[in-house]
């Protein structure tokens, strides 16, 4: 079984390390400078660059998704990866007539400095660098800020050029900071940040009338994503996060055209073209590797790659085989989706499942032998919708206690229907997002639009409950 990898390891050790061929495997003329696919292929510089470009174009071509009328929004963070993406797109637009990309491209930069509390001067400097980088390709560029999610109306995208200045809405920034500070664990913070970023991307794309978004994840990133998603309980939606196309949103599709390239190939591409990049720190930068699940999975994959170089491609190919089976891809109405990540909620969990078992453990740990009726075992409520269901605001779980303590301070506990509790929000989330909400301290820190949606859906639910006896 697993020992097959041991043997691979043995094979690796037996061979002398670099097996450089005299000439490039591709053109048999120039001297090779880079190995791809570990040892097998040594390419010269030109052949390597052509190979990267070809992989990018073939990924787009194979998908058969691009139409000439498409307007694409390239997400640009200033990192090496996203700069390579812009460079490849630019190369595609400068091709001879029959090979030229026909779709249109716009660039979007999202300013996330508020999350880390970077000084405004640093953030403006980053913005200027990003503007310079995107300007050299001649795409029309825009920028927005992560805190725009707290803004319920109005436009969020601002044209980006050398002279554009970062304007900060103090109120929204404070709300964003409050949201992040409100989450107790780094894992949940980062997961929340990812969901927020996704929502800002989708919102900006709709505003800019783009129907596709390009993001710059490499296969290495996606292998890490797979392990992270599994550990975060997001197995059901993993295929959205790691496949070429994320079509959770009905209007805008998120595509990952760099997913066939490894991070090594991307790094060398940027070195050979002397592409600059801006390092913008994020939540997990400089943090201990055991500080969050994201960092730990990254470290795990990187360490495995040293001894088992096929790790990334194996994990990535595993992810490729995941997808939605045809029965579940039918779109339900808006009320069936998770309010944080827009994945479809499963109606009821199987009677014997991990979430049911966890819920049962919680229940009996709080009730004890005297409070628990053995006969009620067979008629436990279905769980996936009622995780923490029976514990209302003042229930036994620690999370609800906290919410109650907080609510008591403001003197509002249980003060009627429009008072939203964390367990109400949890009910509207998928399994993975519940884990985020579990680490949220107070409900008021959540973004305004999420609270609003939750309130509307809770209201609808209570209306439905009150008339359910008369519904046919």
């Amino acid at each position: 079984m697993c020992s097959r990898n041991d043997q691979d390891d043995g094979l690796m050790e037996e061979k002398p390390k670099p097996l450089w061929t005299e000439v490039c495997q591709k053109c048999s003329a120039a001297k090779p400078v880079i190995q791809i696919l570990q040892i097998k292929h040594a390419y010269c510089r030109d052949c390597f660059l052509a190979h990267v470009n070809h992989k990018f174009r073939s990924t787009l071509g194979k998908s058969k998704m691009m139409r000439p009328s498409d307007v694409v929004m390239a997400a640009f963070s200033g990192s090496v990866k996203s700069h390579v993406l812009l460079h490849l797109l630019h190369a595609g637009f400068s091709e001879k007539s029959h090979k030229r990309f026909l779709f249109k491209t716009q660039v979007l930069y999202i300013d996330e400095g508020a999350v880390l509390g970077l000084p405004l001067s640093d953030r403006s400097a980053n913005l200027r660098l990003v503007a310079e980088m995107s300007e050299q390709y001649g795409f029309s560029a825009y920028f927005t800020s992560l805190s725009c999610q707290h803004d319920n109306q109005g436009l969020v995208c601002v044209p980006l050029n050398k002279d554009s200045a970062l304007s900060v809405n103090v109120e929204f920034e404070a709300e964003l900071n409050n949201l992040i500070a409100n989450i107790s664990s780094l894992t949940a913070k980062e997961d929340m940040l990812k969901q927020l970023r996704q929502q800002v991307l989708l919102r900006a794309a709709k505003e800019l009338k783009c129907n596709k978004i390009f993001t710059a994840e490499s296969s290495t990133d996606l292998a890490i994503h797979i392990l992270t998603d599994v550990s975060l309980g997001r197995g059901a939606q993993m295929h959205h996060d790691v496949s070429f196309c994320d079509d959770r949103d009905e209007e805008v599709k998120i595509l990952r055209p760099l997913l066939e390239l490894s991070s090594k190939e991307i790094a060398f591409y940027s070195v050979y073209f002397k592409l600059s990049s801006v390092f913008i720190p994020s939540l997990c930068s400089k943090a201990q590797c055991d500080s969050s699940i994201h960092n730990l999975s990254k470290k795990f994959v990187m360490e495995l790659m040293e001894n088992f170089p096929s790790t990334v491609s194996t994990v990535f190919r595993t992810g490729e085989k995941l997808g939605s089976s045809s029965s579940t891809s039918v779109r339900g109405d808006q009320e069936d989706v998770c309010i944080l990540c827009q994945v479809r909620l499963v109606g009821t969990a199987a009677p014997c499942s991990s979430s049911q078992a966890t819920e049962f453990s919680r229940l009996i740990s709080s009730l004890g032998p005297s409070g628990f009726d053995n006969n009620s075992l067979t008629c436990l409520p279905p769980t996936d919708d009622t995780f923490l269901g029976q514990s209302s605001c003042c229930g036994p779980s620690q999370n609800s206690e906290t919410c109650c303590v907080k609510a008591d301070v403001s003197g509002k506990c249980g003060s009627g229907q429009d008072m939203l509790t964390l367990s109400d929000v949890e009910k509207l989330c998928c399994y993975g997002c519940r884990l985020i909400v579990h680490d949220v301290k107070t409900v008021s820190g959540l973004p305004a639009n999420i609270i609003e949606t939750a309130r509307i859906r809770k209201g609808l639910q209570s209306m439905r409950d009150s008339i359910k006896d008369f519904l046919l």
């Binding site: 079984m1 697993c2 020992s3 097959r4 990898n5 041991d6 043997q7 390891d9 500070a181 107790s184 664990s185 998603d229 599994v230 550990s231 975060l232 309980g233 197995g235 059901a236 295929h239 055991d290 699940i293 730990l296 999975s297 795990f300 360490e303 495995l304 194996t314 994990v315 595993t318 085989k321 995941l322 939605s324 089976s325 579940t328 499963v346 199987a350 014997c352 499942s353 991990s354 979430s355 078992a357 966890t358 049962f360 453990s361 919680r362 009996i364 709080s366 004890g368 032998p369 005297s370 409070g371 075992l377 436990l380 036994p396 620690q398 206690e401 303590v405 399994y431 884990l435 301290k441």
Partner: protein, 380 residues
């Protein structure tokens, strides 16, 4: 009076803990939740409000429980899994795969307790496999024999030697320290099947716990084995249709730590020594990863199992078709089952036959056959 002093001390301790642990941030709010979670430094009462002092914190939910409530909760959870998963039918004969380790010892004990308490009407037997590893299995089998006497269950021991004609000691002597876990694992699977058939049982219960399952999910992702990834989390092996005996995992949702706690507080005798042969290197990485994850977020084990249960595979992915081995008739996705290939390799003196690609194996087989023919040709 004493009460009042006690309260004051508690408050002071609380304040002290809070002061040390307080978040250093501009927002200076009294964060009550962070102090409550520090439970080790003061007497905590049982979460179930039974009035007793808690002695442990459950890794799964974080609840603090007293000894009696923990025993009750542990057993009730296994009962819940058995009932919700429809693992057994009344009147079944169930073989407990017993290695003498903590999981199978606790499994045998709990099943016996639950069978009496909830009147399942099960006939429980112990089934052990003797791999023939000197200094490891011979000692652990003594534990199983102890269990047999303690729990008054019949015990059946099958050995690799009598089933396959090879002991693990002999196999390791031939193949070396690498890859021997492949032989041991594949043979044990088949040995359990054969033992179950000999005993005429309705199903085999194994001691796989939640940690094992989470680890298997990770391993199958790392190995890219999509077929196993799909079925590794199922609580009953889906093989009733082919007439083979199903295997069930009643401890599937039980944390390894709670199993150790249960065995420790119940003072159950179990055997805890690592196998004398080299531990499997690659699985070790996955295990270490899981342990690190668990430190960050204890619920991660259940989260990974949830992920494994809810994974969906694309419709157009080819999965291996289950057939029967043409030599021994057990379930296999290939013409020959793995056990038969490995055994053939051992008997031919080509122990690497079943390890690595099947095309390489076929070539090696042909070469040896061709070689034999040459020799016979020379003979006459």
């Amino acid at each position: 009076m004493l009460c009042a002093v006690y309260e004051w001390v508690t408050l002071l301790v609380l304040f002290d803990i809070w002061w040390r642990k307080r978040p250093v941030s501009p927002v200076f709010a009294f964060d009550f939740s962070s102090t409550v979670s520090i439970r080790t430094e003061m007497p905590v009462s049982c979460s179930s409000k039974c009035g007793k002092r808690a002695i442990l914190k459950r890794p799964k939910t974080g609840d603090a429980l007293c000894k009696e409530c923990f025993f009750w909760a542990f057993e009730t959870e296994v009962h819940n899994t058995i009932v919700q998963g429809n693992l057994f039918n009344r009147g079944d004969t169930v073989a407990i795969a017993a290695s003498g380790g903590k999981d199978s010892t606790v499994l045998a004990y709990v099943l016996k307790v639950l069978n009496e308490r909830h009147d399942y009407g099960l006939n429980l037997v112990l089934l052990s496999i003797d791999e023939g590893i000197t200094g490891y299995r011979d000692d652990s089998l003594e534990t199983v024999k102890q269990n047999r006497d303690d729990y008054e269950m019949p015990l059946k021991i099958l050995s690799y030697d009598e089933l396959f004609g090879w002991t693990m000691d002999a196999i390791v002597a031939q193949i070396g320290r690498k890859n021997n876990c492949t032989f041991c694992g594949v043979f044990r699977r088949q040995a359990l099947d054969r033992g179950a058939t000999q005993l005429g049982v309705n199903c085999v219960a194994t001691g796989h716990n939640a940690d094992d399952l989470a680890e298997t999910v990770l391993m199958n992702i790392l190995r890219g084995d999509i077929a196993r990834l799909q079925r590794c989390t199922s609580i009953i092996t889906a093989s009733e249709s082919e007439g083979s005996i199903p295997r069930v995992k009643p401890l599937k949702y039980t944390y390894e730590k709670e199993i150790v706690m249960y065995a420790y507080f119940k003072r159950l005798v179990y055997f805890s020594t690592e196998c004398v042969f080299a531990p499997n290197a690659y699985r070790g990485h996955a295990r270490a990863f899981l342990k690190d994850l668990e430190k960050i977020r204890p619920s991660v084990i259940m989260d990974i199992i949830h992920s494994g249960e809810s994974l969906q595979v694309k419709d157009d992915v080819k999965l291996p078709v289950r057939t029967q081995c043409s030599r021994c008739g057990s379930v296999s996705s290939q013409e020959l089952c793995k056990a038969c290939v490995l055994l053939e390799g051992l008997n031919r003196g080509l122990p690497k036959l079943g390890i690595g690609k099947s095309s390489l194996a076929n070539r090696a087989r042909e070469q040896q056959d061709a070689g034999k023919k040459k020799i016979t040709n020379c003979d006459f």
